[in-house]
């Protein structure tokens, strides 16, 4: 077995103490995924596992044997940015950029959750289809902190990408 990381098969670490985050950064030099709090509180280390967003700092890498991991490095197609990456640039969705890889991976996972109908804390009707209002996006992205305070630009970037045809297609891919 192996962990498939951005399409590359990687052997799980021998030491079960190694987090998925440390495997990515220290083992594979995929330093796009960031270590913020290292205790699940900031979201900077968010990656996608089989399309679902998780915090890689609290994930023991050995637990992810046989799973498919996508990091920020796995989103662009060569030099062509993922539409959400471009939207973050267009809307000033960052200042220092440290939280950005986690924000972008989180937003992609969030879009998939909304598409399959996962409600949120602010959803008035639990059984209804999800409409991603600004309030919904703010709640659903609340696991990703931005100390520069670019949250409004981040929400703008996500909204624009979700409402553009190509962007929405890429987010659901």
């Amino acid at each position: 077995m192996s962990i498939l990381i951005n399409g590359l098969a990687v052997a799980p670490p021998d030491d079960p103490r190694v987090s998925l985050l440390d495997l990515l950064r220290e083992g594979l030099h995929l330093s796009g995924t960031k270590k913020g709090c290292n205790q699940g509180a900031c979201g900077a280390c968010t990656v996608l596992v089989d399309g679902e967003r998780i915090v890689s700092c609290l994930a023991l890498a050995v637990q992810y044997d046989g799973r498919e991991v996508t990091t920020i490095e796995g989103l662009a197609d060569g030099d062509a940015l993922h539409p959400l990456q471009q939207a973050f640039i267009d809307h000033d969705g960052f200042q220092c950029g440290y939280c950005t890889p986690g924000q972008i991976c989180s937003a992609i996972g969030m879009a998939a959750e909304a598409k399959r109908g996962v409600p949120s804390h602010v959803s008035a009707d639990l059984a209804a289809d999800v409409t991603l209002t600004r309030e919904e996006l703010q709640e659903r992205m609340s696991g990703n902190l931005c100390r520069c305070g670019a949250h409004n630009g981040i929400i703008d970037a996500i909204r624009e990408t979700l409402t553009s045809q190509t962007g929405a297609a890429e987010m659901a891919a």
Binding site: G109, V118, P119
Partner: protein
């Protein structure tokens, strides 16, 4: 981090066999346990990964739900039967942690998460009877905004951190367990303990005993249920106070009611006194207030958390008012 071994359990029997070794812990999503190990609060010799076990949600023959212990929190919150029949459970889960953590965390792990008392986590600087039995408690005379007002002891004033568990306490859930002596069930409200003089034990589980499932009995009026969480910021924070409640009204009177409180005690607090005060009575604000007063009569404040007593009463009155409005 001290070294530990890791093994994946193929099934419950395999987990039990692996879990009998000394200082072995069952591992779910790791969202609390990995942090506890990293902070050296927990020092297991080995982890047994039980995320491959019972991950399904099935309707029981009685019309309830059987929820495998390895079901992820998101999967439970988004299940359409939970959203429509037990909305309090969906709402409680969605009020907790972040989406990323809910995607990782399992139902069994949620039940067994430890308190977030900062003194419990402070291995270098604080005495804590829960972390090191007999060492003392630096929380009691410390910063106690988040601590217990009900059922605490002179040894421990920690609170149980789970939102999901508050809903399970209100819903009369049943815990399915597997241990050395075989399988057994336990009412959910009896799983967690009050601290007494042994706060190192959060639950009544035997060593090596494994949670295999949570069963929700049928409760038709739970369709009219909700969860309200009061916290220091609007998102991603533990509860100061939370209320899980379900209400059934017939002919203007309260036919049945379930209430549990979070953020106030060492365990999810089933508000039996408030329920008894309400059952059969009128669904009025005065009656809601009287029930809240009855439940909180034994509350004991610490230096910083006296506000929780009135906050709990007001939140309970508001929640019951909302449910009564929805039922009318």
């Amino acid at each position: 981090m001290t070294p530990f071994t890791y093994a994946r359990a193929e099934d419950a029997a395999d987990a039990l066999r692996l879990g009998q070794a000394n200082a072995t812990a069952y591992l779910g999503g790791g969202t609390n346990l990995v942090d506890l190990i990293r902070e050296t609060v927990a020092r297991p010799n080995g982890l047994v990964d039980v995320t491959g076990l019972s991950g399904g949600i099935e309707e029981t023959e009685h019309g309830g739900l059987m929820i495998g212990a390895a079901v992820r929190n998101t999967a439970l919150a988004e299940h359409m039967m939970v959203r429509t029949r037990y909305p309090v459970l969906s709402r409680a889960i969605l009020a907790g942690a972040s989406a990323q953590i809910r995607n990782m965390a399992t139902v069994g792990g949620n039940l067994l998460q430890r308190t977030r008392c900062t003194y419990f986590y402070d291995t270098d600087g604080s005495r804590c009877n829960k972390r090191m039995p007999g060492s003392g408690c630096d929380a009691i005379e410390g910063f106690t905004r988040g601590h217990a007002i009900l059922g605490a002891s002179t040894d421990c004033v920690a609170t149980h951190p789970s939102d999901m568990c508050v809903a399970l306490a209100a819903l009369d859930a049943i815990v399915h367990l597997h241990g050395r002596g075989g399988a057994r069930t336990l009412p959910f409200v009896e799983l967690h303990r009050l601290p007494g003089d042994r706060p190192e034990f959060d639950t009544v589980l035997e060593p090596g005993e494994l949670i295999t499932a949570i069963e929700l009995p049928p409760m038709s009026f739970a369709a009219n249920s909700t969860y309200r969480k009061v916290r220091d910021r609007a998102g991603y924070a533990f509860a100061l106070v939370s209320i899980a409640a379900a209400l059934e009204i017939e002919g203007g009177r309260i036919k049945d009611v379930r209430i549990a409180l979070g953020g106030v005690a060492h365990k999810p607090w089933r508000a039996s006194k408030a329920e008894a005060a309400l059952r059969g009575g009128p669904a009025t604000e005065d009656a809601f207030r009287a029930a809240a007063v009855a439940e909180m009569a034994d509350a004991v404040p610490l230096r910083d958390n006296g506000f929780k007593i009135e906050l709990t009463k007001r939140t309970l009155v508001a929640v019951l008012g909302d449910l009564a409005g929805a039922a009318a």
